[in-house]
C-alpha cells in the first residue's frame, strides 16, 4: 500500500470513516514538531501490515491529544462550548430535511424558518471562540468573523425566501411537493437565488471558528504551535457538517429534494409497470459496477485489485437494490429511489463546494465581507422583488412562468453588475474595535 497516492488513501478513508481529514493533500512528514513536546498526529506509527488502519489510529490519537488552550487567561467554559454549538446546529438541521417521501424525522410547520434561525445561532460559536480566547488580536477577529457570518447568512436567507415565494408553505415536505406539482425544480425558476445560496454556503463554511494561526484544516506545513486537539477536530467536523446542511437545504429547496429529474414525465416501458426514467438509477449504478469490475481486471497489484473488487461489489449491490425495488410496492420504490436521488444531489453539491474550496485560495476577511454585504445582500433583495413581480406577472397576464422568471433573473444580474461597478473594493478603514 506504500505506493498508493496518499491523497487517495488517507482523505477518502478518513471521509469514509466519518472523520474530518487531517489534510486534504499529501501527508505531513513525520518528526514534525518535536520541539513542543506534543507527539505529532500525522506520523505513521502502526505496523506495516495494519497500515490500512492508519487513518483511524491517527484520528484516535487526535482525539486524545492533551488539551491546548489558546492563551493563559482564556475563558475555558466558553471556548469549550463554542464548537459544540456549531455542531449541534448542523445536526439539528437534519431533523427537518426530507430524504424521501416518507423519510423525514419530523415535519415542522415552519421547517425552513427553523433551519434559518438556528443557522443564525451559529454566530455564537464564531464569536465566543475568538473572544473568549482573551487575546488582543482575537477580539478583532471575532468581530470581523461575526460581520462576515451575518452578511452571508442574510444573503442565503433572502435567497431561500425568493424560492419560497413559489410555494405557499415553509414546511420542507410542502416545498418538495410544490416542485412536483409545478413540474419544475425551483433551480430553473430562481437560478440567481441558487447561485447566491451556493456562494454564501461556500463563504460560510470555509471559516472555522478558531482563527489561531496554523489551525486551518488544509495547512500542510505547520509550525511548532500546531493546535491539533479535540476541540479543533470538533470544529472541523462542524465545518464539514455545515456543508452537508447547506447541501441538504439547497437540494430540498432548489434541486427538487427526493424528486427524480423530470418527475412529472410518467411514460412506462410497454407491457410493464416500470417507468422509463425510473430505470435510470439502476442502470447508472450498474454501469459503475461494471466499470469497477473491468478496471479490477486491469490492475497490476493485488491490493488495488482487491479494492476495486470490493468497490464493484458495493456498487453492484446498490444497483441490484435499485433495480429490484422497481417491482416492489409503490411506497418502497419511491422511498428507495427518492433517497438515492437525494444522496446524488447532496453529493453533487458537496463535491462542487469542495471543488471550489480546493481550487481558489481563501479570501481575506475584508474583501469577503465586502462581497457579502455590498453585493450579495442587495442582489438577494433585488432577486426577491424581481421574483415576486414575475409571479404576479404570471398570474395577471398569463405569460408562462419560465419567461417571467428569466426576465427577473436578467434584471437581478443587471443590478448585480451595476452594484459591483459602483461599489469600491478597498479595505474598510481601521477602527478601534478592529486591528
Amino acid at each position: 500500500m506504500n505506493d498508493n497516492p496518499p491523497a487517495n488513501d488517507q482523505a477518502t478513508e478518513s471521509l469514509a470513516h466519518g472523520t474530518p481529514p487531517d489534510s486534504v493533500g499529501p501527508e505531513l512528514p513525520p518528526q514534525m514538531d518535536q520541539e513542543c513536546g506534543i507527539p505529532p498526529v500525522n506520523e505513521k506509527f502502526l505496523h506495516p501490515r495494519l497500515r490500512v488502519l492508519q487513518p483511524m489510529a491517527n484520528t484516535v490519537k487526535l482525539l486524545i491529544q492533551p488539551v491546548q488552550w489558546p492563551a493563559d487567561g482564556t475563558n475555558r467554559i466558553m471556548v469549550s462550548i463554542a464548537p459544540w454549538c456549531a455542531l449541534t446546529i448542523a445536526l439539528l438541521a437534519y431533523l427537518i430535511v426530507p430524504i424521501g417521501p416518507a423519510f423525514q424525522t419530523t415535519d415542522l410547520n415552519v421547517g425552513l424558518l427553523f433551519i434559518l434561525g438556528i443557522s443564525f445561532l451559529g454566530i455564537y460559536s464564531v464569536v465566543l471562540e475568538n473572544w473568549a480566547a482573551n487575546q488582543r488580536d482575537f477580539l478583532g477577529a471575532a468581530l470581523r468573523s461575526a460581520t462576515h457570518f451575518l452578511s452571508y447568512e442574510s444573503a442565503s436567507a433572502l435567497a431561500l425566501v425568493s424560492a419560497l415565494l413559489l410555494t405557499g408553505s415553509l414546511s420542507m415536505n410542502e416545498i418538495v411537493q410544490a416542485q412536483l406539482d409545478q413540474g419544475q425544480w425551483f433551480l430553473f425558476y430562481v437560478p440567481v437565488g441558487f447561485a447566491i445560496f451556493f456562494v454564501a454556503s461556500i463563504a460560510l463554511t470555509n471559516r472555522t471558528a478558531i482563527v489561531m494561526p496554523g489551525s486551518d484544516a488544509e495547512i500542510i506545513d505547520r509550525g511548532e504551535k500546531a493546535p491539533l486537539h479535540f476541540r479543533w477536530a470538533l470544529d472541523s467536523l462542524a465545518d464539514y457538517a455545515k456543508i452537508f446542511v447547506a447541501a441538504g437545504v439547497a437540494t430540498t429547496v432548489f434541486l427538487g429534494g427526493w424528486l427524480r429529474p423530470l418527475a412529472s414525465y410518467r411514460d412506462r416501458f410497454p407491457g410493464t409497470p416500470v417507468q422509463l426514467l425510473d430505470a435510470v438509477p439502476g442502470a447508472l449504478v450498474g454501469a459503475i459496477a461494471i466499470y469497477c469490475f473491468r478496471s479490477a481486471q486491469k490492475q497490476q497489484e493485488q491490493s488495488r485489485k482487491r479494492v476495486m473488487i470490493w468497490a464493484c461489489t458495493i456498487w453492484g449491490s446498490v444497483a441490484l437494490v435499485l433495480l429490484a425495488t422497481l417491482f416492489a410496492p409503490e411506497a418502497v420504490m419511491s422511498g428507495v429511489h427518492g433517497a438515492f436521488w437525494f444522496v446524488v444531489k447532496v453529493s453533487a453539491y458537496v463535491y462542487a463546494c469542495l471543488w471550489v474550496r480546493i481550487t481558489f485560495p481563501e479570501y481575506r476577511s475584508d474583501p469577503s465581507t465586502n462581497l457579502g454585504w455590498r453585493i450579495l445582500v442587495p442582489m438577494a433583495v433585488v432577486n426577491l422583488i424581481a421574483t415576486a413581480l414575475a409571479i404576479m406577472c404570471t398570474q395577471y397576464t398569463g405569460l408562462p412562468m419560465r419567461l417571467t422568471t428569466i426576465l427577473a433573473a436578467v434584471a437581478t444580474l443587471a443590478a448585480a453588475i451595476w452594484l459591483s461597478i459602483i461599489s469600491p473594493v478597498e479595505p474598510l478603514s481601521r477602527t478601534a474595535g478592529g486591528q
Partner: protein, 169 residues
C-alpha cells in the same frame, strides 16, 4: 400524550427559570448573555408546546439570534466582560427584592386564588389550524397598518443607531 406535555412543560419552565436566575446574578456580561439565550430557547420550547410554531421561530431568529447577539457583541466590543462590585451599589437591594416579592404575590394571588373571578376556561385540546398561515393572514390583512409602522420603526432605529454610535472625528 398529555403526560408528555406536562413533563416537557415542567422541563422547559425549570430550564427557563433557572437560566433567568443565573443570568441576573452573573458578573460577567457575556455569561449573562449566554444564559439569556438559554432562557429564550427554553421559552421557545414552551411556544412549541402551545403549538405556536411561528412564535418559536421568531423567538430563535429575532430574540436569541438578534437582540442577544447584539448584547454579546456590544459587550465584547466595549470590553465589558467583568463588572466590578462598586461601593454604594448594595444599598436598596433588600428593598428591591422585597418589591419584587410583593409584585409576585399580587399577581400570583390574582391568578391562583381569584381564578374563578377571572373566569378562565380550560385550554383547547384541538389542534390549532396552520399556525404560520393564520398569523401571516392576520398580520397582512387585519394588522397591516401596525405591520408597516413596525417596519418604519425598525428602519428609523437602525439609522438612529448608526448615527448615534458613529465616532465623531
Amino acid at each position: 400524550m398529555s403526560v408528555l406535555h406536562t413533563i416537557l412543560f415542567y422541563f422547559f419552565s425549570a430550564l427557563a427559570v433557572a437560566s433567568a436566575l443565573v443570568m441576573i446574578t452573573r458578573r460577567n456580561v457575556a455569561h449573562a448573555g449566554i444564559f439569556l439565550v438559554t432562557t429564550l430557547l427554553a421559552t421557545g420550547g414552551i411556544f412549541l408546546l402551545l403549538q405556536a410554531e411561528f412564535a418559536f421561530a421568531l423567538q430563535i431568529f429575532l430574540f436569541a439570534g438578534g437582540a442577544v447577539v447584539l448584547f454579546v457583541l456590544a459587550s465584547s466590543l466595549a470590553r465589558l466582560e467583568v463588572t466590578r462590585r462598586l461601593p454604594g451599589s448594595q444599598r436598596g437591594r433588600l428593598a428591591a427584592a422585597a418589591l419584587g416579592l410583593v409584585l409576585a404575590a399580587q399577581i400570583g394571588f390574582a391568578i391562583v386564588v381569584g381564578h374563578t373571578s377571572l373566569r378562565l376556561p380550560a385550554m383547547q385540546s384541538a389542534r390549532a389550524p396552520k399556525n404560520t398561515e393564520a398569523v401571516g393572514d392576520a398580520l397582512l390583512r387585519q394588522f397591516i397598518v401596525p405591520f408597516e409602522i413596525a417596519s418604519v420603526l425598525l428602519l428609523v432605529s437602525m439609522i438612529g443607531a448608526v448615527v448615534l454610535a458613529r465616532r465623531r472625528a
